[in-house]
């Protein structure tokens, strides 16, 4: 067996260990948990409220969270190229990026101060 294949052996061991761990956990849970089947438990889960059927409008409240997520998610495209080149760009670019992130974070602080993040 060459070194090349031996390195793949490590991958196989890793996959095996992963499968064993997941299987072991689920199997253990199956063994020790109580089972009491009820019809309510088979109803579709819709964030805790009763499902209304069809495809209902999603709650407006999710919109704010989705928006906040998208904002920060998309701004990350500027951070990736910067992070790759950080060593050559030096301290000045670090300061620029800190300013950038602080201004972004202000948006989050704003949302928090206006009570948007409270689930009311």
């Amino acid at each position: 067996m060459t070194d090349y294949y031996r390195e793949y052996l490590a991958v196989a061991v890793l996959i095996g260990a992963g499968l064993a761990m997941v299987g072991g956990m689920l199997g253990l849970g199956k063994l020790i948990r109580p089972t009491r089947p009820q019809p309510q438990k088979y109803v579709t889960y819709e964030a805790g409220s009763d499902p209304v059927g069809g495809w209902g409008q999603s709650n407006v409240r999710y919109y704010v969270y989705a928006l906040l997520f998208v904002m920060f998610d998309v701004e990350a495209v500027f951070i990736f190229p910067w992070a790759v080149r950080l060593e050559t760009l030096g301290v000045q670019s670090l300061i620029s990026m800190i300013v950038f992130i602080v201004i972004l974070a202000l948006g989050l602080v704003y949302a928090w101060r206006k009570g948007v993040l409270r689930w009311a």
């Binding site: 050559t88 760009l89 030096g90 000045q92 670019s93 202000l106 602080v109 704003y110 101060r113």
Partner: protein, 487 residues
């Protein structure tokens, strides 16, 4: 590798950014009654940003950053000064309108200043990417401002129409820009200018057409104008004043930069399109303005027509020796247009506080019970119409001079069109004046003298002073035009 930072050159931008942050943070801490302070911080920030502009102007010279993508020269300084002044006057107009029991004061100024930030960057941008980013920084806050009265369906409608047209136009503009980039291999305007000189591709015409069509939406040139009257009517009036002056001139600066620094060596890329836009805006804007009954809609169509006048020098720029006088004309016209249009809107806002109406008939008899207001309003209207000795005549004069310098059949036709439409325009401006001076106030109307808030008065006085001073002594702005065109 490091971009060379020239902090003096970007000081105005930094000051406005710091002001936005300060207003936002201040808004967290002030209680409801203290919210008016956010307005003070915002005004101070705008005034403070004027200081580096003056020092940069005294310093003179050209400062370049980012490989020539961001340039501070007399051209950009003139427009930056204009945008800050227009923003300051717009804030004076908004003080009482927004202050009347409005919870979201801080946000209003944050959005307004963000838009101004985009304008400052736009004045200096010499690169397709930064022009695009600056244009969106101008536009996106104004979408929200147009829909400021959240529970008023009219304001909602103003916002959605403005928004849809705005994003459509940026998509069209971007498609054009992507083609320009593909054909020239650069986003820097100076390099684009080098390439289009020799490049001869039909696709280049398409690219230029699409880019300019995108800008035409922003400056509401016919046939891309149909959002403007609805948005102007539905949005809060101070916001309308800001849209019709600052945001519109922002579009013109973008157009001027792209055409002058980028497309100028290849006149086929922009000249025919701009000629058509100018002619259509002049004719349609003025004719439709004639039959408006709402003063805001009339001013909307009037601003479309004024946009047509500003487009005339663009359309003739590359003929003969007209480049310099065209640039001068665009700069001078936009500056004067800003002062007179803001002034007219200030009076509309002041009167609407009393009559709660924007119909032209609500001006009836104003000359009897509020002669001061009627006099200044007539002044702004006649200035818009181009009657000496108010500043408007000088704006029109520079425009005709550019068209005559070009001295081609196309330019002459356009100049003739502009002359005819100036005459038409006189009628609808004069109609409002006639309403004020020769009609009786309606039965049962409140004819006590109108008390206007201090801030509104200040705005009117500033605009009126500019309109008279420049009208009597045009060298004031002619010098600014020379400086900008020399850069």
């Amino acid at each position: 590798m490091n971009p060379g930072w020239d902090f003096h050159a970007i000081a105005p931008v930094i000051i406005i950014t710091a002001t936005i942050v300060a207003v936002l943070i201040a808004d967290f801490f002030f209680e409801y009654r203290g919210r008016f302070r956010t307005q003070q911080i915002a005004s101070l920030g705008v005034l403070a940003a004027m200081i580096p502009i003056i020092t940069l102007a005294v310093d003179g010279g050209t400062r370049e950053m980012f490989n020539g993508g961001f340039v501070v020269d007399p051209y950009s300084l003139v427009f930056q000064g204009f945008f800050l002044a227009a923003a300051y006057i717009s804030m004076l107009l908004s003080v009482d309108y927004i202050g009347d029991g409005d919870y979201y004061q801080g946000e209003f100024y944050v959005l307004l200043l963000t838009s101004v930030l985009g304008m400052l960057v736009m004045s200096s941008a010499r690169d397709l990417i930064s022009i695009f980013v600056a244009l969106e920084t101008i536009s996106i806050p104004t979408f929200v401002l147009a829909g400021w009265r959240k529970h008023d369906p009219k304001s909602n409608e103003a916002a959605i129409k403005y928004y849809l047209i705005g994003v459509m136009s940026s998509a069209v503009m971007l498609y054009g820009m992507s083609l320009v980039f593909g054909l020239t291999g650069s986003t820097l305007l100076s390099e684009i200018a080098d390439k289009v000189r020799t490049l001869d591709s039909p696709l280049l015409i398409v690219a230029g057409f699409l880019t300019i069509a995108g800008f035409a939406f922003k400056v509401s040139a016919v046939p891309f104008h149909f959002w403007a009257p609805d948005t102007y009517e539905g949005a809060p009036t101070p916001v309308t004043a800001f849209l019709s002056v600052a945001s519109k001139v922002g579009g013109f600066v973008a157009l001027l930069s792209v055409v002058w620094f980028g497309f100028s060596p290849n006149s086929a890329m922009f000249q025919p399109v701009l000629w058509g836009l100018a002619a259509a805006s002049l004719i349609l804007g003025n004719l439709v303005a004639l039959r408006q009954t709402n003063i805001v809609r009339m001013l909307a169509y009037s601003s479309i027509a004024q946009g047509g006048f500003i487009l005339v020098p663009f359309a003739v720029a590359s003929d003969g020796g007209a480049w310099t006088s065209s640039i001068q004309s665009v700069v001078i016209y936009t500056l004067i247009y800003g002062a007179m249009n803001l002034g007219a809107f200030a009076i509309v806002i002041a009167l609407a506080r009393r009559t709660r109406s924007a119909e032209i008939t609500s001006f009836a008899g104003l000359g009897q019970y509020a002669p001061g207001m009627a006099i200044v309003m007539s002044m702004f209207l006649f200035s818009l119409a181009g009657v000496p000795p108010f500043a408007g005549w000088f704006a029109k004069f520079t425009m005709f001079r550019a068209a005559l310098d070009a001295n081609t059949p196309a330019a002459t036709v356009l100049a003739a069109l502009a002359a005819v439409s100036s005459v038409i325009a006189f009628f609808y401006y004069a109609r409002v004046a006639r309403e004020m001076w020769f009609h009786q106030p309606p039965e049962g109307a409140d004819v006590h003298p109108i008390r206007t808030p201090v801030a509104l008065n200040a705005a009117v006085v500033i605009c009126a002073a500019i309109v008279i001073a420049v009208g009597v002594y045009p060298q004031l702005f002619a010098r600014l035009g020379d400086l900008a065109a020399g850069g």
